[in-house]
Symmetry: C2
Subunit: 218 residues, 2 copies
């Protein structure tokens, strides 16, 4: 019988909608129950508690994220271009899923309980995808060999998370995609001027002066 699975899905779907409008604390089980068309007690037959229900949301989302990411990376060979595409897709995904972005970035990502939950597996898969790109880049000879790859990943994910987080906190007003190019460039080349040329860009396109793109100040 997949009767159970259907009912579970029905509750989860309601949870996605109701949690999406607001945050964990301001969302009540009774709202979700009403939306799902079941009694409050029924929810506890399918989920351990409110937090378990909340943390179940990323289960499928992370799967599609990773699968789509793989698809977008297919065909790209240079690891530096993969990093650019990675950044592009990361920003693209959260812009396309702002409700989910809010839950994941502002609530789950900083929760020890989430890190211990089963849903976290999906996040780990994604993180290993990031690591794989960096490693591949070292093998290709385009990523510095002297780097701790885990720390490099901190730089990559930290910059992306920070941009998305600030975007969310400011009400999702600007177009977050505008900063994709320069952000990728920063991750690849850093902020300092290097010995040879003055900007160390690897794409030909010049970038204008400050303040013409990217999420705004603060």
């Amino acid at each position: 019988m997949n009767k159970k699975a259907t009912r579970r899905q029905q509750i989860l779907q309601a949870a996605i909608e109701i949690f999406g409008r607001s945050n964990f604390d301001d969302t009540s089980i009774s709202e979700i129950a009403r939306r799902a068309g079941v009694a409050e007690g029924t929810i506890y037959q399918y989920f351990k508690n409110k937090q378990d229900l909340f943390f179940s949301i990323p289960r499928e989302k992370t799967k599609t994220f990773s699968a789509q990411l793989d698809l977008y990376l297919k065909g790209v060979t240079d690891a530096r271009e993969k990093i650019r595409k990675f950044a592009w897709y990361y920003l693209h995904f959260f812009r396309t899923n702002p409700d989910y972005a809010r839950s994941l970035m502002l609530e789950m990502r900083v929760s020890k309980a989430f890190a211990r939950s089963g849903s976290y597996k999906g996040v780990k898969r994604f993180m290993s995808q990031a690591l794989a790109i960096l490693k591949e880049g070292q093998e290709q000879g385009v990523i510095r060999q002297d780097l701790d790859l885990y720390l490099s990943r901190h730089l990559l994910l930290g910059a992306l998370e920070h941009v998305v987080t600030r975007w969310l906190l400011k009400g999702e007003k600007e177009d977050i995609m505008l900063c994709h190019e320069q952000l990728s460039d920063l991750i690849l080349n850093g902020v300092a001027i290097h010995s040879g040329n003055g900007s160390a860009r690897t794409t030909g396109k010049p970038i204008g002066k400050n303040r013409e793109n990217g999420p705004g100040r603060s």
Copy 2:
């Protein structure tokens, strides 16, 4: 009369201690009241509500943070070295104040309500300090001129926040200071290999192979 200020401080001090042991949700007003030696109702004479009390914690902490940071940066001239010192102090501060780090990084930093609160002013001051260093670097000619400084700051703060966040989520086990050098280097130079040399490091010290320092995997 500073009688009111004293009582307020007494409650705030208790709040720091009790919130520090745990998180916002798992901390009760009655605990804080007991610790402060007042009745629960008294707290509401000095703070609008539980969240207001919680958000009042960074008020002084951010002040000392910024002041100390200024002190540490005094005497350093090269903006690149200032960025290194900035990263060092950032990590140092949160390692020294793990209770506060937990509250600020895992709860306040991702809260829209906090961004709207008065306490946020302190965070903004700190963020403008970061911006000033980058701007100074451009004027010195050591930071790329083609950069959006706000985006560069995202890279800097994002990387640092990410490292500290992962450290907290993993239970503050490793020594977070170990990654300071390479993280600064990554922010300055990026992950890619540059035209001239193979690693583009500006400090003389060589770095060993992977996994000998920095917060661990994931």
